[in-house]
């Protein structure tokens, strides 16, 4: 490959290759070529390339092609006038416009893919939020046999018991002899939440049908109250009192029995939080 020709003479060289210079320009270029080898080489190589390229080779269309040209054109015009679908239909034009203006842009494909992924995610979230929970609730035919308010309260009571049990198990098994003092601030917070819920459940549960459950709940409320009122993370003596209360009243055992009793009752399958969800709450 030759060296690049002089930038200043590029346009003159291009015009000279096709014989498009006026006499003044030609004179100027000739003077330059006399002393510039790169420009001379460029011009020579260009002339050779154009010589090799030669005249354009076009197909020799038969005479009937040219003879029928007007007829075919007239047919197209007639079709267009009759409203037959042509390449200029609105849909085709719109599609082409979109392609030219947007799709041909280099950033279109990455952006389109990203937008597609985002759209899928949004659809997933919407489906998960609106459709899936509703679908999970639509299961048993038993729903129709039981009044709706009580099962909901019973289910919530069962969940309340489960969460209380997990909290008490955690308190009972906390290692208090370690080098670092345990922090019960989270348990205090959970206890307060459970106490608030217990007040609501006490109003909602039917006392006649849930006598034992309500008794157990009141016992648990006492313990929860103790936990909620722990002074600070170093209040170990108060923690010991909580543990004693759990053991003395056999609360964990009572919760298990109450859960078994609840499960033995015919009732609709209500949404239950998984173990993972319960532990997240705690």
């Amino acid at each position: 490959m030759n060296n690049l020709p002089c930038k200043k003479y590029e346009t003159l060289l291009a015009a000279q290759a096709f014989g498009d210079l006026n006499s003044a320009e030609e004179h100027k270029l000739r003077a330059h070529l006399a002393e510039c080898r790169d420009c001379r080489n460029f011009l020579m190589a260009t002339e050779m390339a154009l010589g090799k390229l030669g005249a354009p080779q076009r197909p020799e269309m038969p005479e009937h092609f040219w003879g029928g040209y007007w007829h075919r054109l007239a047919q197209r015009l007639e079709q267009e006038a009759a409203g037959a679908p042509t390449a200029d239909s609105v849909f085709v034009r719109l599609r082409e416009w979109l392609r030219e203006k947007w799709v041909a842009q280099p950033l279109f494909m990455p952006l389109a893919r990203t937008a597609g992924i985002l759209a899928l995610l949004v659809c997933g979230v919407i489906i998960g939020h609106y459709w899936w929970p509703a679908n999970r609730n639509e299961q048993p035919t038993l729903v129709s046999t039981v009044p709706p308010t009580i099962p909901v309260a019973q289910t919530r009571a069962e969940q309340w018991l489960e969460r209380s049990k997990i909290l008490l198990i955690g308190m009972a098994n906390e290692d208090l002899s370690g080098a670092t003092q345990p922090d019960f601030s989270h348990q205090r917070q959970v206890s307060r939440t459970l106490l608030t819920e217990a007040r609501t459940l006490n109003h909602e549960l039917d006392p006649a049908a849930n006598r034992q459950l309500l008794q157990l709940m009141s016992q648990l409320e006492l313990i929860l109250l103790q936990i909620a009122n722990l002074e600070a993370e170093h209040d170990l003596s108060a923690v010991e009192l909580v543990r004693d209360g759990i053991a003395r009243d056999g609360l964990l055992l009572k919760i298990n029995i109450a859960e078994l009793a609840q499960q033995a009752q015919p009732r609709p399958v209500a949404p239950q939080k998984s173990k993972r969800q319960s532990s997240e709450i705690l």
């Binding site: 490959m1 030759n2 590029e10 346009t11 003159l12 060289l13 291009a14 015009a15 290759a17 096709f18 498009d20 460029f42 190589a45 260009t46 050779m48 390339a49 154009l50 090799k52 390229l53 030669g54 005249a55 354009p56 080779q57 076009r58 197909p59 269309m61 092609f65 040219w66 040209y69 007007w70 075919r72 054109l73 197209r76 015009l77 267009e80 390449a87 082409e96 392609r99 030219e100 799709v103 041909a104």
Partner: protein, 193 residues
């Protein structure tokens, strides 16, 4: 503008079918050849040239006569060809995505004369290589090169057709020539010989 052409335009704008036929008969070969030079395919060339005539038929009322009728029609053909090339590039891009393991990215021989290897002499091989190299130019560069080299239009006329300055035409022409030379480096020995 010649008086004959003015009269033809007047008759066209008056909606005379015979004037339109006269226009078609006078320019059909030139428009077909230009489209063929730009697209390298006879079927596309006929389609584009007819589309150009249809556009002329519908838009002649807007023609103000500030350019020659021929230049105006050339501009229409050039624009249609550029659009057609974009569409083809899009289709090829879709195909390339489907067949990513294509052996080569070299331009495919789409033109009639490239697909018809009647002559396999060395000179013909170089000529075909050069023609294929034209497809590597940008659409504007190829258009300018074809209009100047194949259709022998003056630079001033090309600048009017493409609505760009004559200086831009020359600089684009220079770049086209440079690219052609780069493509032909392989045959440098032939040039020297």
């Amino acid at each position: 503008m010649a008086n004959d052409e003015k009269e033809l335009i007047r008759r066209l704008q008056a909606g005379e079918t015979s004037a339109f036929r006269e226009l078609v008969e006078n320019h059909k070969r030139a428009l077909f050849n230009l489209a063929y030079d730009l697209l390298g395919n006879a079927q596309d060339a006929e389609d584009i040239s007819q589309e150009a005539f249809i556009k002329v038929y519908h838009s002649i009322g807007d023609f103000r006569g500030d350019a020659r009728l021929g230049s105006w029609m050339y501009r229409i053909v050039v624009n249609l060809c550029l659009n057609r090339r974009r569409k083809k590039a899009w289709s090829e891009m879709e195909l390339r995505e489907s067949f990513e393991d294509d052996a080569t990215h070299a331009p495919t021989p789409t033109s009639d004369h490239e697909a018809n290897p009647e002559k396999t002499t060395e000179a013909e091989m170089i000529r075909q290589h050069l023609r294929r190299a034209l497809d590597l130019l940008s659409p504007q560069q190829k258009t300018i090169f074809v209009l100047r080299h194949d259709d022998d239009l003056p630079l001033a006329e090309i600048s009017k057709i493409l609505k760009i300055s004559e200086g831009t035409v020359k600089s684009q022409l220079f770049r086209a020539l440079r690219k052609l030379q780069e493509e032909l480096a392989f045959y440098k020995a032939d040039f020297v010989a």
